[in-house]
């Protein structure tokens, strides 16, 4: 193999990307390792999250259902997978009180995953027998047929709390407004930046972008999730430092730093 030079094998231009991936991955894995060893990982309380538990609590008091829509995207969207973690937690709370839980699904491929997640939630609450698979309702793969069907459920079954957590598109506004008219307390969260204005305006609480990821970690108190959030926070500290050094150095006229980051 001696005659083949490194440049032929690996794209040397992408060194800065490689360094970023190794550094960030190492940081996240390190923090997860520390969290698993029991190190205390502080995550600041999230207003939107407290609202999620209040909303489910209110539904329990009024004996009405909780509607949980894990976004309309497929399993290939990371937000759908993350929403499953929160769904598992909500399913656990709901199972404790025996409050009905409705989980409309907008992509067929998500159905088995959602069923397993809710079953896991009921399992964690020690009541696997209460799990009824037809609470996880596959409605349609078509975005708008799904939205119309969920609106029908909201207007007919009048859930006390609507939770919209995951990847949403144009239907975010309709679901939030229909829920607003049905008088439910609404908590939403998505990393799809273009839908956040509607959730912020029409819902009682909104987890904005990353807060959605942090809420998962905070809820689950799972070392892996907490470690990830701390890893991201530390790296964000690094980015803040780079941004501050960057603009100070650029103001002084030295452009080498920004070229180094860009790997030119």
């Amino acid at each position: 193999m001696a005659n083949i030079s490194i440049a032929e094998i690996v794209d040397v231009q992408k060194l800065n990307l490689f360094v970023l991936l190794v550094l960030f991955s190492g940081l996240v894995l390190l923090m997860i390792r520390l969290a698993e060893k029991g190190r205390q990982m502080f995550v600041r309380p999230l207003a939107g999250l407290k609202a999620l538990e209040d909303a489910v609590g209110r539904a329990t008091e009024m004996g009405r259902a909780v509607l949980y829509v894990p976004g309309i995207d497929d399993v290939k969207n990371i937000q759908t997978i993350y929403s499953m973690v929160i769904l598992e937690h909500v399913a656990k709370i709901v199972a404790d009180y025996g409050t009905p839980l409705i989980v409309p699904i907008g992509k067929a491929f998500v159905v088995p995953m959602a069923e397993e997640t809710v079953r896991q939630g009921y399992l964690n609450a020690g009541r696997p027998q209460d799990f009824r698979s037809d609470n996880v309702r596959y409605l349609s793969d078509e975005q708008f047929a799904f939205t119309g069907a969920v609106n029908g459920i909201i207007m007919r079954e009048r859930p006390a709390a609507n939770v919209f957590l995951g990847s949403f598109y144009a239907e975010a506004l309709i679901l939030a407004e229909t829920g607003f008219m049905a008088g439910s307390i609404q908590v939403a969260g998505t990393a799809n930046i273009h839908q956040l204005p509607f959730f912020v305006v029409a819902c009682d609480y909104t987890l904005i972008g990353e807060e959605f990821y942090a809420a998962t970690a905070y809820l689950a108190q799972d070392p892996k999730l907490l470690g990830t959030i701390k890893g991201i926070d530390v790296f964000k500290g690094l980015i803040l430092a780079v941004l501050v050094i960057g603009f100070v150095v650029e103001t002084l006229g030295f452009t080498g730093f920004s070229r180094l980051i860009a790997g030119e």
Binding site: I4, E8, I9, V10, D11, K14, L17, F18, L21, F24, S25, V28, L29, I32, V75, I78, I81, Y82, M84, V85, E88, K107, A108, F109, M113, E116, T117, R119, Q120, L123, Y138, S140, D141, F144, G148, A170, L173, I174, A176, E177, F180, M181, A191, I193, P197, F198, V200, V201, A202, I208, G209, E210, Y213, K224, T228, G231, I232, F235, K236, I239
Partner: protein, 212 residues
């Protein structure tokens, strides 16, 4: 067997797609292309399964005469007519999927108008939400409201009549003022996505394979 193999497969395909961005060795690249093709094929099976799920649910609703079963007839009818004419009927009997077939006629005169109209409903909903749910409950909400009104007023031709530089001012808001917030949210979201992708590939994210 139940979760070790899927975890290895996730690791293999996850790493493969990451490494492919870094390796430029010609032999690797041609092998990579074949693996890409495999993934595409498997993904398309996933979507076929998705549609079979639609058929399964509406057929079940039909069998059990559950409320609204009559409507399921329409879904199955719509699906069957598209599939039968789109795949099985020969082109000369209005079959196939190109222009002139019943499949494309139903698409142009059935699917397009209905989907376009469903989305146009949003114009009505955004108006009713603007009136009933768009409340200036706090300082932050009023910042959102003021920016929204300025951008709306300046982005349409009437705005220009009032102040000829209005569009240019809105371009400044879009290109600079709102870009700052968008960029920070994008950086944060990217970190979250990279971390989550990493955990899924390394099998640390087991929630959706849970239950074993």
């Amino acid at each position: 067997m139940r979760s070790e193999v899927p975890m290895f497969i996730t690791l293999f395909f996850g790493l493969f797609f990451i490494i492919s961005a870094f390796i430029v060795h010609p032999a690797y690249k041609s092998a990579a292309q074949e693996l890409n093709n495999w993934t595409l094929i498997i993904i398309s099976f996933a979507y076929v399964l998705g549609v079979i799920n639609v058929a399964r649910i509406h057929a079940k609703k039909l069998e059990e005469r559950r409320p609204g079963w009559a409507y399921s007839v329409m879904t199955l009818f719509g699906m069957l007519i598209m599939i039968v004419f789109g795949i099985f009927v020969p082109a000369r009997l209005y079959g196939g999927y190109e222009t002139g077939s019943l499949f494309s006629w139903l698409f142009d005169n059935g699917q397009v108008p209905m989907q376009a109209t469903m989305f146009s409903l949003l114009a009505f909903f955004i108006a009713s939400a603007a009136f009933r749910a768009f409340r200036v409950r706090s300082v932050t909400a009023s910042l959102l409201a003021v920016t929204a009104v300025i951008v709306m007023a300046g982005r349409v031709s009437v705005g220009e009549l009032m102040w000829s530089d209005f569009p240019r001012f809105v371009e400044w808001i879009m290109g600079d003022l709102q870009t700052a917030g968008q960029r920070a949210v994008k950086i944060g979201a990217a970190l979250g996505a990279v971390a989550t992708g990493l955990k899924i590939i390394l099998g640390l994210e087991r929630s959706y394979f849970s239950g074993e």
